[in-house]
Symmetry: C2
Amino acid sequence: MDIATRVYNHKWKIDPIVRSLIDTDFYKLLMCQSVFRNKPDTQVTFSLINRSTSVPLAKLIDEGELREQLDHIRSLSLSRGESTWLRGNTFYGKRQMFRPDFMEWFEGLRLPPYHLERKGDQYELTFEGSWPEVMLWEIPALAVLMELRSRAVLDQMDRFELQILYARAMTRVWEKIETLRGIDGLGIADFGTRRRHGFLWQDWCVQAMMEGLGSSFTGTSNCFIAMRREVEAIGTNAHELPMVYSALAEDDAALARAPYDVMSDWHEEHDGNLRIILPDTYGTQGFLDNAPDWLAGWTGIRVDSGDPAAAAEIAIRWWQERGEDPREKRVIFSDGLDVDKIAELHRQFSGRVKASFGWGTLLTNDFRGLVPDEGLAPFSLVCKAVSANGRPTVKLSDNPEKAMGPAEEIARYKRVFGVGAQESMDVIV
Amino acid sequence: MDIATRVYNHKWKIDPIVRSLIDTDFYKLLMCQSVFRNKPDTQVTFSLINRSTSVPLAKLIDEGELREQLDHIRSLSLSRGESTWLRGNTFYGKRQMFRPDFMEWFEGLRLPPYHLERKGDQYELTFEGSWPEVMLWEIPALAVLMELRSRAVLDQMDRFELQILYARAMTRVWEKIETLRGIDGLGIADFGTRRRHGFLWQDWCVQAMMEGLGSSFTGTSNCFIAMRREVEAIGTNAHELPMVYSALAEDDAALARAPYDVMSDWHEEHDGNLRIILPDTYGTQGFLDNAPDWLAGWTGIRVDSGDPAAAAEIAIRWWQERGEDPREKRVIFSDGLDVDKIAELHRQFSGRVKASFGWGTLLTNDFRGLVPDEGLAPFSLVCKAVSANGRPTVKLSDNPEKAMGPAEEIARYKRVFGVGAQESMDVIV
């Protein structure tokens, strides 16, 4: 595959960005099955949020093209081969991870309508409907916007410039991989679907990881690529579960319980390496301090905001206090990683915990400095559940820059979850 | 064009390396026409000389494959389009550079037989016959050996490794070009045919130079690429003229005159930018000291061995002594150049002379450090006239490492041309 040529050819025809309903993150499907069982009738609204207001998406991306891509996604359904793979494949060592009733529902699924409106230089893009359906919009919507933005910049380049661009980007990724290859005992997965430069590029990055890292490359979060490249599909759960559960809470007491209700539902459904705590939705320290004892028996924790080393230390102390051996526990770092940070965290924590890494944006979208005015640099785009059954959702995070929700609700959540002062950190990616 | 894919596909079929009789250096054709007029019946032997004995060509390259490639070259004749281009194109501002009688001869030409024998880890490859025919073997023979050696190494690599290899090599060339772009008033041509990594790669490098340097890129020595890419064909004359003329000399007095006889014949045939002195065959200093006055009126000089700055200074002093203004003279540097050296020489000589550059091996074959054991690093392979009408040729050069010929003849030439101690310099490329 010659990416430069493919990209160049894009200029003359419509080329779908998302070609499969499983071109999405594995944890979306795990969570979807959980929601399908536990909260199928919850009505949610997901909304696009561009934290990088300096990137004027509506100026860069033609509305017609965007609608064309989103409409194409609505035309997709699970193919026979995809269904067979989901039903028959072993995920995390388990056969039939996806239950027959869920698979039947998924096989019949088409994604629900979207609402798109230009607001100044940004797009308002929202999805409303039942939670299990709407939640599957998140990843393809982000992938479409990321890739249309890439194409807007690439369209200005001639074939030769494209060739040099990809030669440089490939060289950069490969040099990162060579650095990682030097790290003894590394375990790292691709988590880059949502912020990828483009589909072909993510697919190439996964091949580079396979080639360069061998068994240190533990898999990709992208189901479609995992299937095509025959690597493990990786992922557990995300903030949307506690955010929606919390929004549904009837009072402060129920709110305080909600994040643990999520864990409890998950506990019934999954074991082993899928029992990974994501503790930072309303502050890691408070979440762990107030956690029920059985949660300390889980396999590990995912660190997705704030100072990762500090969060890992909190987890280690917590396990020790609960009589668990941290050396037996997995800590998955997944926030804003690049090779230096990965090497540093690995040095700091290997031997003390089972450290592993979910590498996202700076694997699949590091085009920094390769075109003028950083036209292809990654930016911070998310698509989040903003309300559930008419109530706003709230995220506090370990980094106030990543907080979201109405101010008065944020204040209430801070009170209920006992979150005090937080250290603000730049959200680069 | 996706070079990695093309290279990968080479593994399954015979793919001719030289596809055209004009896939050769332009100066070969100019010299051939001159020889065709002045010395058509001279019998010469050209021979392959691998100065890099550490590269075991006969171990790397299969003899059958080598014969297949050489046989293919013998099957080539000038195509109609090539002939039209040579007859109709303007070279160095001149129409009908190639005379009708030469073109008729060239149109009927097939290259003469070759003699190939394995000697230990090297090949003995010689060409015997009339000078105008045999001399056209030099460049395609080198191109075939260089590219078969590249293929021997590339054949061991899988598709992904090839993609990374070319991504890195492209990035390297492009970064060199970006450095050159910063040099005000630069004039630079591709002289890399004979030492190229491969044909496709040279063609890509020329496109990169066109794209990156605009009018600072003055053209390529390769006629086939010049025709296809519509850039200037560049080149004047080479050591083989004084070497053969000298070998033909009947006595010492005739030998002392021979290099000037070459210039005299050239003077009758060419003017303007084609009047470029190549003074180093038997020592630059002596050649200029003993040169006839009319030679100082020539347009410039080509510096191809020894310390380039020292040679340029010798030329500047010589012009001054002969009442010429060096600022009106062209100095073409063409030996072992890379960007740093180019930048340095440009700084040192721009304004003092019209400096320009013929960039060869480290443009079209800089794969240093890209595969283990420097398997693709350039090496010093030449194909030279070793005898003329049964007498050995001699080259002294400004660098004794580049000298060639029987010891007693070298001693005689040193005496005749008054060459004393010379400073030895590594021949990297």
